[in-house]
Each structure stands twice: as C-alpha cells, then as structure tokens.
C-alpha cells in the first residue's frame, strides 16, 4: 500500500498537463472552465471543436483498448488524466456518454461491425451519444420500461417515451432500452438498441428544472426507425447489456468530478473568508466538515480504484453515488449559508441566478437522478451486505 505514483506515471502526468496547457489556449481559450453542471448546454460548437481536437490528438477514450484506438491506459493513468484535465479547466465533455457508456458497451457486447461503425466516430468526436433508459413510470424501477421496438422489414420501429435524457438535442445517437418481446414484463424481453436521433420519428422536449434551465429532456418515439443490426447483444438480452453499462458509469472519471467539487468548495471558502462568515462557528465547522468529506471522497475513490480488478468494481464502489450526491447537496446548502442574506439575490431579472444558486438548486437533483439515495441504499444493503430484497408488489398494470 503506497500513495506515491511511479516515475512512469509522473511522466505521464507531465505529458498530459503539458499537452493541455499547450492546447487549451488560442481558439480554445473561451471553453476553459465551461460546460460544467448548470452550464452543460453552453458553447456547444466550440466544445465540439475541442472534442475533435482531442480526438485527433489521441486524448479521448484513453482507457479503451489499443485495438479500438485507445491507449489502454491503466487506472492510475486514467486517474491522472482526469485530474489534470480538471486542473487545467478542460471544458465539460460533450462526448462523455459515448466515451464512458456507449463505447464500452459496444466494446463489451457489440459485434465487430458495430465496433467498426461506431467506435472511431466516438473517439474522434464525430458522433455524440445520449442515453434512453428512464421512462415516466420506470424511474427507480428500470425494469418497468414500456417503450416497444418491433421488427418490420429489417428495421426496428420504436414507440414510447424516454425521460431525463441529457444532451438529447446535441446527440447523434441514443441507446434505447426497450421491450422487443410482446407481453413480456420485468427484465425479460428487453433489448438494447442504437437509434439515430435525427429523424422525424423522434421528438425532443426539454424539461425545465427548478433552476429555470433545461439540462434534461423527454424523448418521444413515434415510429422511430433504426436498422435491424443496431441491436447490441442478443435480442431479448437488453437487461444484461444495460446493467453492464451501469457498471461503467462509476469509474475513473470520479476523480475528475472530485476536482471540480474542490473548485466549488474553494469558491465557497473564499467567499466565507471575504464576507467574514467563516468566523461564525457553525459556518466554520461546516466548512471544516465539507473539506473532511471531500478529502475522504478522494481517499475512497483511490481505494476503490486500487481494489477494482479486471474492470469489475469493488463493493466500495457501490457507495460512491450516495456519498458524492449527499456531499454535494450539503455543499449547496453551505454555499447559501455562507452568502447569508445575499443568497437570495440573483444576477438579473427576470430569473437569472448566480452560479452558486444554480448549484444549490441543481444539487437537489444529484440525490435523485441515476438512482435516488433510497435506491442506492437498497443496492448497498442487498448487494454488499446481503440483506433480503424488498418484496415486489402485485399491482400489475
């Protein structure tokens, strides 16, 4: 057990940081530090350019195997990459769903043709992806999805509705979990299908959030089409594929996210020092606790990454979502407490809020999307601690 990075890893760190400092300037200067939470849909064109530039330079998808154009970077190298990327103010990645979800799924479960068709375009920033899992009545209970796909003359015809889809308008493709076996229910009879977004059968409806912005969308499928071959894995095996994807979701990028959290924390700390609220004992204490919480988040992540073997995440990894979502929500509240009376005052009428206000409000969704805190606790107690599952009801609809 040791925390120091090896010489080779330190060299890699230098390579990353020097490439970033040489490239995140000039025409890319405007995107530095942009596109994070609450800013996700801004400066899209410029950020797409940046994605392409990174792709061309071999700095996307570094964890992918070499044969798919990746660098086969070790976990430590990925950690280093994400840390340096955040430190350098690398913009919010439009390509992250392709790089961390769609791509790895296609690598693990896709056919050779699919790998050839889709992976290079993800890697080069030429095609972007979004996720089609949740539905209005299938939120926590993902197995209740109702969206249907039917094979008609070599094409899947898809009907139904997905919800909470990020970056839907900006994406070229969506992976859709849908029911391909009529009258099936639960985890049976589902398939994982790749569908092009730009077609008359698909309508996107942004969802306005409590911040006044729209980072999520509803996606309606009305006889949307895709080629028969665009199913990943076997027809009817979609649940297995989707669960694989969920596994990829909590990986090495977590350390980059933590550096972004640290930047937020530093902003709050700075204000507290400036406006004198850091001298109020309860605020001082909360700042101290927030810092402790953030450091431990990092320690947990390092341990989790060191313990993960062969791409399988360790038990501890199950804790990560519950931990960071709760921590981040508390930081949002703390930011408001630090601001005191000023916490109510926004940027401009009618309803432009400050960065910290948006953080405060948006963090309320952190403990809900991608598995609510309640669902996370179910998962931890059942899978990591062996507690019995909650009995399903029989209010079949």
């Amino acid at each position: 057990m040791h925390l120091e990075f090896s010489k080779k890893e330190e060299l890699f760190r230098e390579e990353v940081s020097s490439w970033l400092s040489k490239n995140l300037k000039g025409k890319f200067k405007p995107v530095v530090g942009r596109g994070g939470s609450g800013d996700q849909t801004e400066l899209l064109e410029e950020r797409v350019e940046w994605e392409k530039h990174m792709g061309k330079s071999g700095w996307t998808c570094i964890g992918w195997p070499k044969k798919f154009g990746g660098r086969n970077a070790s976990i430590n190298e990925q950690v280093i990459f994400y840390e340096e990327y955040t430190k350098a103010g690398g913009p919010g990645r439009i390509g992250h769903i392709g790089e961390t979800l769609a791509g790895p799924t296609i690598i693990s479960f896709g056919s050779k043709e699919q790998q050839k068709r889709f992976l290079p375009k993800i890697r080069l920033g030429e095609e972007y992806w979004c996720q089609g899992y949740s539905e209005p009545s299938a939120g926590s209970d993902l197995a209740a999805v109702k969206t249907k796909a039917e094979l008609v003359k070599g094409k899947w015809k898809i009907n139904g509705q997905k919800i909470w889809t990020s970056l839907a308008k900006e994406s070229d493709w969506i992976f859709v979990l849908c029911r391909t076996t009529k009258k099936s229910s639960g985890r049976e009879g589902l398939s994982y299908i790749l569908v092009p977004m730009s077609q008359p059968g698909i309508t996107i409806q942004p969802i306005k959030q409590l911040t006044g912005q729209s980072e999520f969308n509803e996606v309606f499928f009305d006889n949307a089409e895709t080629q028969e071959e665009n199913v990943v894995g076997e027809v009817g095996e979609g649940w297995k594929v989707a669960m694989g994807t969920l596994g990829f979701e909590r990986g090495t990028s977590t350390l980059g996210q933590q550096m972004a959290f640290e930047q937020e924390f530093n902003t709050v700390l700075k204000i507290a020092k400036e406006n004198g609220s850091s001298e109020i004992p309860s605020i001082k204490n909360q700042l101290s606790e927030a810092w402790i919480g953030l450091r431990i988040m990092r320690f947990n992540a390092l341990r989790m990454l060191s313990n993960s073997r062969d791409g399988l995440l360790s038990k501890e990894a199950m804790l990560s979502k519950l931990y960071w979502a709760t921590w981040h929500r508390n930081l949002g509240k703390l930011a408001m407490d630090v601001l005191g009376m000023e916490s109510e005052i926004g940027d401009k009428l009618p309803y432009d809020l400050t960065f910290l206000q948006k953080m405060f409000l948006f963090t309320r969704s952190d403990t809900i999307y991608a598995g609510t805190n309640q669902i996370q606790r179910n998962i931890i107690s059942e899978r990591a601690l062996g507690m019995p599952k909650e009995p399903r009801g029989d209010n079949k609809k």
């Binding site: 939120g139 209970d141 959030q209 009376m341 005052i345 401009k348 009801g393 209010n395």
Partner: protein
C-alpha cells in the same frame, strides 16, 4: 389553559384556506410571481375588503377588526400553505406593528384605516449591504436641518420595496458613535429622492428591492417614535416579523407533507405504491413530527403576544429557529420523495423549497435565534 383553536378561530382558518385554495392556486401563484408587482392587486383588494385580513390587527376605532396575533398566526399559516404572493407580511406584521408600537395618534389615524382598507402597502427598510441584523448593519444616516430631516444611504433586501406606498426607514444620526442611536422614519415611495430597484430573488414569491435615498427630506411629522428609540422599536417589530414568518413556515411545511403524502400514494414503482416503502413512511413520520412541533411553537408564541408575557422574545426565537429548520427539511424531503418530477419547474414543490430557503434567513437565521436562546440561558 386551552391550547387549541376556538370554534371562531377554526372558522377563520377554514375560510382562509378555502379562499386561498381558490385564489392562490398553482396557476395564480405563477402568474403573480412573474408579474411586475409580484402580487395580484385585485386579490389584494378582495383580501382587504371582503375578508378584512389587512385590518386583522387594526383596532376597530381605526377601521380594522381588532383581532389578536393568535388569529393572525392562524391566517398566515394558511397563506404559507397556499404560497400566497402578497405584501401581507410587510404591510401587516411590520407596518401595522410599527405603527401600533410607536406611531402617534396622527400617524395612526392617517395610516391605519388606509392599510385596513387595502389602500396602502407598507414595508420596512432596515437591512443594508452587510445583511446584518445588528445595529451596526445600519449605515444610512439622518441629519436634522431646521425642521427637516435629511436621509442618505442605501437599503437592501427590502421586501416588496418596489410595490410599497409607505416605507419605514431606519437611519442613524450622522456622526453619532453610539451604534444603537437609531430612528425610524415614514417615507412615501413617491418621494423623488428615493430610487427603487427591484432585485432578482431566488424565491420569486418574496421579492426584494434595493433603495437609494439621496438627500431625502422629511418633515418632523414623519419621525416614527422618539428620536433615538429606533433600535428598541425595530427589535420588537422584527421579533413580531419573525413570528409572522414562522406561521407562514408552519403552513408551508404542512403543505409539503400533504403534497408528498398524496404523491407517494399515487406513484407506483416495483408494483407497489411507493408510500408502502418503509424508508418513505419513516421520513414522512419525521416530517409530521417537525410540522406539528413547528405549529405548537408558533401558536405558543402567538398566545404570549396576546397575553403580553415576558417569555415572548424567547418563545419567538424558539419558533423562528424551529420552524425555519422544519420547513427547510420538509421541503427538501418533499423534493427527494417526489423523485425526478420534484425538481421540475412544472411541479410546485420547488416553489415551496425556495420559499423555505428565503424564509429561513428572513428575520434572523436559525443560528441567530439559537444564539439568542443561548443568551437567555446565560451562556
């Protein structure tokens, strides 16, 4: 000792609730909070003339109905529950209280009847750039020149400042080192030397303004209370203001509980109503403990106002700190238990959440009131 509503008080509560359910529903709230005035002036007139609410504390000889803070708390609880957008709190809890506390006969007879009839909207301008509730926070000065007062300064966080007719302004004597040597003035919002700038507020149901006073001149008759008594009057009025907010918080917290109960009995996941899951049930139980305790604390303080009890300041600090935390917790939990729809603009939960946040810091944060309690305990 009879710590429950009388029949008359129950009728007042129920009437208020059904009136507000009709006229302060989701649609009208959103319309009001996005309008320029930030409230519906037609509804305001009806609340005044039909319901008599603006005159609830005004003695009958000044055209009001002369009820007590117990009735007022009962009423404001319903306003909180229905998220009413209106300058009721500044006008009644702050404006009327100030006039009753410190106004001379001439001031009372010229303003109270107008307030009772809904023709005059009042607010209090005490906070400034530091946001501090301490006397040091007030930097605005006054100077007496002959028979006139001249005021200069910038007020911030003034509730409904942009739609008020009469503004009670706290200022300190120029070049006076005693930080508590403050006085209050009655300022018409039509005075040319006041400029009012509406601020963007996270909670759109509680608008705030910034006021600039530049050589604003007032006749002696606009002094409220004696010169130098301002801090004492402010203390009493803001304490009552805190109680008014506490009542609003009780209603808001109750509504968060009600909305959540309703939602979890409708929403199904895993083939069950989600209200049948213990993690949700237990959280609702905790919410109910908070709501009922908050209500007890606000009612208790209201009784003490009525009975003129020494314990009042302590009881109000208890109520304000507890109700603030209870409302914030209930509103947070309400978002959480609503899941995805809880953080959409379309559902009302976020409006309650934002009101919980703005109420929490209005008239003293929970921490400030806990510090007061510690002071009462001699620590």
């Amino acid at each position: 000792m009879e710590f429950s509503l009388t029949e008359e008080q129950e009728i007042l509560r129920d009437t208020a609730n059904s009136f507000l359910e009709d006229f302060s529903n989701s649609q009208s709230i959103r319309k009001a909070m996005e309008s320029d005035l930030r409230f519906d002036p037609v509804l305001w007139k009806r609340m005044a003339s039909e319901m008599g609410w603006t005159g609830i504390l005004v003695p009958e000889n000044y055209g009001g109905i002369g009820l007590s803070w117990v009735e007022l708390v009962t009423l404001m609880e319903q306003m909180g529950k229905n998220l009413l957008c209106s300058p009721f709190h500044p006008t009644v809890c702050l404006g009327i209280s100030s006039l009753l506390e410190a106004g001379n006969e001439e001031q009372k007879s010229s303003f109270l009847p107008l307030i009772a009839s809904g023709e005059l909207i009042v607010t209090l301008a005490c906070l400034e750039r530091s946001g501090s509730w301490l006397p040091e926070g007030i930097e605005t000065t006054f100077e007496k020149k002959g028979s006139e007062y001249c005021l200069n300064g910038i007020k911030r966080f003034v509730p409904y400042g942009h739609s008020s007719d009469l503004i009670i302004v706290a200022a300190r004597k120029k070049d006076n080192s005693n930080s508590k040597d403050l006085s209050l003035f009655l300022v018409g919002s039509d005075n040319p030397n006041i400029s009012i700038n509406q601020l963007t507020t996270m909670d759109q149901t509680r608008p705030q303004s910034e006021l600039k006073l530049s050589n604003l001149k007032l006749s002696e008759s606009k002094l409220l209370g004696k010169e130098g008594d301002g801090w004492e009057i402010l203390n009493k009025v803001r304490s009552l203001g805190a109680l008014g907010i506490a009542a609003d918080q009780v209603g808001g917290a109750q509504k968060c509980l009600d909305m959540t109960c309703k939602y979890v009995l409708e929403r199904e996941q895993f083939g069950r109503k989600i209200g049948s899951f213990q993690s949700i049930k237990h959280r609702l139980a905790d919410m109910m403990v908070l709501v009922e305790s908050a209500r007890s604390s606000a009612y208790y303080a209201a009784c003490l106002v009525k009975e003129g009890n020494d314990e009042l300041d302590e009881a109000i600090s208890i109520a304000k700190s507890y109700c603030s935390e209870a409302y914030f917790k209930c509103a947070s939990d309400s978002i959480q238990l609503h899941g995805g729809v809880g953080f959409t603009w379309e559902y009302d939960v976020h409006l309650y959440f934002k009101r919980a946040k703005s109420s929490e810091i209005a008239f003293g944060s929970p921490q400030l009131h806990k510090d007061k309690i510690a002071n009462f305990l001699g620590i």
